[in-house]
């Protein structure tokens, strides 16, 4: 029997705090608001932590979000398996490159797959997005600033859709994903191209920027 947290809670319930650092801070370091929050946590009930949330050092919220986005029909086991194989594949390729490289260039090769994943996602995030705004009966594509969450979502979505659609039917998902992530790390590849196309559209429509009202 798997223990799963419910999805609907009374709004009275508070979110669980999983990080160890939040509890090891002494009383003196806290500001008055944080002291109030701590008191509230002793009185109010707390939601059960989701299965994927851990207090271990390897818990990565960005990675968890990416795995959730890759998941289909609730098959978290498969999505996580694909992600782990991807990271392993990246590590293998980078270590191979490291051993083949000349002595001078050895330190520049990044072998940590998590660092590669984060940097690749950062390189894929668009800076401005387009919004469809109606003015005078017509709809215009207006360049708007995006929030951090939205940008992260776009980067992940483009990566996943690109890996699902533009691959040979015999290549595995992890293989294609590792290729795309390494390409994004080097700022090449289809996802980076997509980001540049969005930027070009925004630049072309910069005249409509005043149609925004926020």
């Amino acid at each position: 029997v798997l223990l799963v947290r419910w999805s609907r809670y009374n709004p009275y319930y508070l979110e669980p705090e999983v990080r160890k650092e939040a509890y090891s801070r002494p009383e003196s370091e806290l500001s008055p608001e944080e002291k109030e929050e701590r008191e509230l946590k002793t009185l109010r009930p707390i939601k059960a932590a989701p299965n994927a949330l851990t207090s271990s050092a390897f818990d990565d919220p960005v990675l968890s979000k990416f795995i959730n986005m890759m998941m289909k029909d609730g098959n978290k086991v498969l999505a996580r398996e694909i992600m782990m194989q991807t990271l392993e594949n990246i590590k293998k390729k980078q270590v191979e490159k490291y051993h083949k490289a000349a002595d001078g260039t050895k330190e520049e090769i990044e072998c940590n797959p998590y660092a590669i994943f984060h940097q690749a996602l950062e390189n894929c995030k668009p800076v401005v997005g387009l919004a469809s705004i109606q003015k005078g009966g017509k709809y215009y594509q207006v360049p708007i600033p995006l929030t951090d969450n939205r940008r992260r979502f776009f980067a992940m979505k483009w990566m996943i859709t690109e890996c699902r659609e533009n691959k040979h039917r015999r290549t595995h998902m992890y293989e294609k994903l590792s290729q795309e992530l390494l390409a994004a790390f080097e700022k090449e590849g289809n996802v980076i191209k997509k980001k540049h196309e969005l930027h070009k559209m925004a630049e072309a429509n910069r005249a409509y920027a005043h149609y925004r009202w926020w």
């Binding site: 800076v127 401005v128 700022k187 925004a202 630049e203 910069r206 005043h210 925004r212 009202w213 926020w214």
Partner: protein
């Protein structure tokens, strides 16, 4: 009950509706009953924020053929501008609800829903 305090009001309404003093002033097709909600105020249309930063960024992109590494300064200034505007908007919306002495439409509606207008005897 409020109806007893408004007896004069009821008489005035019946005078306005009756045909005795010439044409009736009011011809209500619905019962004259107050709703339990207040109409929403149209939010003021502001201006687009951070346009100068965005135009600088676009110019930089045009010059450098959309390579992001060369435009990092402009990107950074754009992000700081966006964060500033978001912070100011948050502050404005928080303060704007309390000051003014009047309730916002949302607050008025919640209050009226807690004490609704009774239309029939329960």
């Amino acid at each position: 009950m409020a109806a007893q305090g408004g007896v004069l009001f009821q008489e005035k309404v019946s005078r306005l509706v009756s045909k005795q003093n010439g044409k009736p002033v009011l011809k209500p097709n619905r019962p004259l009953v107050l709703k339990d909600s207040v109409a929403n105020r149209k939010p003021k249309k502001g201006e687009a924020s951070c346009i100068t930063e965005m135009s600088l960024l676009m110019a930089c992109w045009k010059q450098n053929n959309f390579v992001d590494g060369l435009c990092s300064n402009e990107i950074h200034s754009f992000y700081t501008c966006v964060q500033k505007t978001q912070a100011t908007k948050k502050n404005m919306s928080e303060q704007g609800d309390i000051t003014g002495g009047r309730l916002s439409p949302k607050q008025a509606t919640t209050l009226l829903r807690r004490f609704p207008n009774l239309q029939s005897e329960i």
